[in-house]
C-alpha cells in the first residue's frame, strides 16, 4: 500500500494543529510553516500524479481486508482523476499561502487564519482521496466549516451576512447529502463506493434510484453552486479575504462539488439518461444565466464570482454531454472527448480564476475599494498586476493562445460531434459575452483615467503576492500545452479512462 495517500491528508492536519500549538511562542511561525507544508504537498501530489499513471492505488485504512468480498474498513483511492484534483488543490493552495504572507498582515488573529487554511486543504484532500461515502461527508464538513469561518474572517457586516447565508444553505446541503447516504445504506447496506456500484448494477427500483440521485445531486449541487442553488456563492466568494476567494472559486467548489458529483455519478451510480439530461440542462442554465448576471456587476469580486458559476456551467455541460452519450450507448470516443474537455476546463479555470481573484485582491490591497467605478489608470502604477490580469481575462474569455481557448474549443467540438448544436452555439455566445464583460473590467480598472488625483502613492504590491500572480500567469500559458495529444494522453487520458470505465471500476477496487 502506498504510504503517500494517508500522508497527503495527515500532513496538513498536523500542520494546522502544530502551528496553533507553537504559534503561541513563535509569532511568525504559522505563515512560513504553512507555505512550506503546502510546498511539500505540491511535490507529493505531483509525485503521485506522475507515479500513478493509468493505474489505481488503494489504501485500506487500518489494514482491514474485505470479508466475503465486502469491504469493512474505509478505503482511500488514488487514481488519475483524483491525482489531477490533488495537483490543482496543492498548486492553488501553495500560491495562495505565499500570497497570504503579505496580504493577511492587515488582519488580526493570523494564526487562526493559517490553521483554518490548512484544515480546509486537509478536508479537500480527504474528500478527493476518499473511496467511502460517509468519509466523503466527514471531510467535506471539515473543509466546509473552515470555509464558513474564513468567509467571516474580516468580521465586518458584509462578511458576517455572507457567512450566515453560506452556513444556512451549506447546512441544508449537508442534511440532504446525509439523507442520501442514509437511503443508500438502507438499500445496499454498505458505504464503500465500489461496493455500492456493484449493488446498484444488480438492479434497483426506479423511483428509489431517481430520488437518491436527486438528493445527492441537490446536496452537492448546493456546495458547487450549480444554477438554482447558486444564491450563496457571489456573497461568500466576494466577502472572503482574496486568497481565500481564490481558493474557494478556484479549488473549493470543484473539490467538494463538481469532483464529487462527477465521481459519484460515473463511478457509483449507473448512469441513466434522465439524470444525464438534467445535469446537462443545469450546466447550460448555469453557464448562460451566470454570465448575464455577471455583466451588470460593478463590484470586481462579485463579477468574478458570477463568472465562476458560468465557467462551472461549461464543465458540467461537457461532462453531462458525455453522460448522455454513454447512457444512450452512442459513440464512446465523442463522450471521452467531451469529458476530456470538461476536465481540461476544470484545470484551466483553477488557474485563471485563482489569478483573477489574486489580482482583485492586489487592487483592493492598494486602493481599499472593490468598486470598478472608483478605479482607473492602474496599468501604469501596477504593471505586473495589470499584465497578469490581462492574461487571465483573455484566458477566461477563450482567446488563443491561452489555455481557456483550447478547453472551450474541445467542449464545442465535442458538442458539435454529438450533434448538440444548440449547446455548441450557446457555449460560443457565452464565451463572447464573457469577453465583453472582461473588456469592461480591464477598461475600468486599468486603462480608464483615474477618477481623482489622490492616488499618487499607489504602487505595485509586495513580492510574495507578485510571485503568486506571475506563476499563475505563466501557468495560463503552459496549461495550453495540455491540448497537445501526447501530453493530453499522459495526463488527462487516465482520468477520463477511470470515469469512462463504468463497468469494471467497482470490481477492480473490490478485487484489490
Amino acid at each position: 500500500m502506498n504510504p503517500v495517500i494517508p500522508i497527503l491528508v495527515i500532513v496538513p492536519l498536523a500542520c494546522a494543529f502544530l502551528s496553533m500549538a507553537l504559534g503561541r511562542f513563535v509569532r511568525d511561525l504559522p505563515k512560513y510553516f504553512t507555505a512550506v507544508v503546502m510546498l511539500f504537498l505540491l511535490i507529493a501530489s505531483f509525485y503521485s500524479l506522475i507515479n500513478i499513471g493509468t493505474g489505481l492505488s488503494l489504501y485500506k485504512v487500518g489494514g482491514w481486508e474485505p470479508v466475503n468480498k465486502i469491504p469493512i474498513g474505509i478505503y482511500m483511492v488514488l487514481d488519475g482523476y483524483s491525482a489531477i484534483m490533488l495537483c490543482i488543490i496543492s498548486t492553488i493552495g501553495f500560491l495562495s499561502a505565499v500570497y497570504s504572507i503579505s496580504y493577511i498582515n492587515r488582519y488580526t488573529g493570523e494564526k487562526y487564519y493559517y490553521a483554518l487554511f490548512c484544515l480546509m486543504v486537509a478536508g479537500m484532500n480527504g474528500v478527493v482521496l476518499s473511496g467511502d461515502l460517509f468519509n466523503i461527508f466527514v471531510f467535506l464538513e471539515i473543509s466546509v466549516i473552515s470555509s464558513y469561518a474564513l468567509v467571516a474572517f474580516g468580521v465586518e457586516k458584509n462578511e458576517l451576512e455572507a457567512s450566515f447565508k453560506y452556513q444556512v444553505l451549506g447546512g441544508i446541503a449537508s442534511f440532504l447529502i446525509l439523507f442520501g447516504i442514509g437511503f443508500i445504506y438502507w438499500k445496499t447496506k454498505t458505504l464503500n463506493i465500489a461496493d455500492i456500484k456493484e449493488a446498484f448494477k444488480t438492479g434497483y427500483d426506479k423511483t428509489f434510484y431517481v430520488f437518491v440521485q436527486l438528493l445527492i445531486l441537490s446536496g452537492f449541487g448546493l456546495k458547487a453552486a450549480i444554477m438554482p442553488f447558486h444564491a450563496w456563492l457571489p456573497d461568500a466568494h466576494s466577502s472572503a479575504p482574496s486568497p481565500i476567494s481564490a481558493m474557494l472559486s478556484g479549488v473549493f467548489i470543484k473539490a467538494v462539488g463538481i469532483y464529487v458529483i462527477i465521481r459519484l455519478f460515473f463511478n457509483m451510480f449507473v448512469i441513466s439518461e434522465e439524470v444525464a439530461i438534467l445535469i446537462t440542462s443545469l450546466g447550460t442554465l448555469s453557464m448562460v444565466i451566470g454570465v448575464f448576471l455577471a455583466i451588470g456587476q460593478w463590484d470586481i469580486k462579485r463579477l468574478l464570482a458570477y463568472h465562476s458559476i458560468s465557467q462551472m456551467g461549461y464543465v458540467i455541460l461537457a461532462v453531462g454531454t458525455g453522460m448522455i452519450l454513454i447512457s444512450r450507448g452512442q459513440n464512446r470516443d465523442i463522450a471521452a472527448l467531451a469529458i476530456t474537455g470538461g476536465l481540461f476546463h476544470l484545470i484551466n479555470h483553477a488557474a485563471f480564476k485563482g489569478l483573477l481573484f489574486l489580482n482583485a485582491g492586489a487592487i483592493e490591497y492598494r486602493l481599499g475599494t472593490r468598486n470598478l467605478k472608483e478605479m482607473g489608470g492602474l496599468s501604469a502604477r501596477m504593471p505586473v498586476t495589470s499584465a497578469t490580469s490581462f492574461i487571465a481575462s483573455m484566458s477566461i474569455s477563450g482567446l488563443p493562445p491561452f489555455n481557456g481557448f483550447f478547453s472551450k474549443l474541445i467542449i464545442v467540438i465535442a458538442c458539435v460531434k454529438a450533434r448538440f448544436y444548440l449547446l455548441a452555439v450557446l457555449a460560443v455566445i457565452v464565451s463572447i459575452v464573457t469577453l465583453a464583460s472582461f473588456l469592461k473590467l480591464q477598461r475600468y480598472a486599468f486603462y480608464n483615467k483615474a477618477p481623482d488625483k489622490e492616488n499618487h502613492n499607489i504602487k505595485e504590491v509586495a513580492s510574495p503576492m507578485l510571485f503568486s500572480m506571475i506563476t499563475l500567469g505563466i501557468l495560463c500559458f503552459l496549461l495550453s500545452l495540455l491540448a497537445f495529444p501526447s501530453l493530453r494522453e499522459s495526463i488527462l487520458q487516465p482520468a477520463v479512462d477511470i470515469l469512462m470505465d463504468t463497468d469494471t471500476y467497482g470490481l477492480k477496487i473490490i478485487g484489490m
Partner: protein, 142 residues
Amino acid sequence: MTVIVKKTTQIVAGMIFLYGAYVVIHGHLTPGGGFAGGVIMAGAFILVTLAFGSDFLNLKKEEAGSTATENISILMVILLSVIGLFIGAKIFFLNFLPKGTVGELVSAGVLPLYNIFVGIEVTSSIFIIFLALVIYKEEEST
C-alpha cells in the same frame, strides 16, 4: 449566585466530572466512549463557570489553557494513528497494541487510549466554545 448554589455546584460538578471520566475509561466495555464522556466532563466545567461567574475565574487564562490542552490531545490522536505507519505492517490507523480478553478494562489495544485523548479533546473544545461566547459578551459590554 448564592452560597447554596455555589456549594451544591462544587459537589455536583465533581461527581459529574467523575462520571464523565468513568464513561471515557470504560468506553470499550459499556455504552459511551470518548465523545459521550467528553461532553459530560465539559458539562461539569460549564456548570462551574455558570455558578461562579467570571469574577471568580480568570476566563482568558482558562481559555488559553484549554486551547493548549485541545491542541495537544488532538496531536496525540494523530500521533496514535500515525504510529502504525512506522511499526510492523506499516498501516495507517493500525491497532498495534495486544487486544487482550474481551470485557476486561485493559483490553482492545489502542481503543482506550483513543477514548481518553478524544475525551480530553472534546471536553476542552466544548468548554472553549462556551468560554468564547461568555468572554465575547463581557468584552462587548465594556
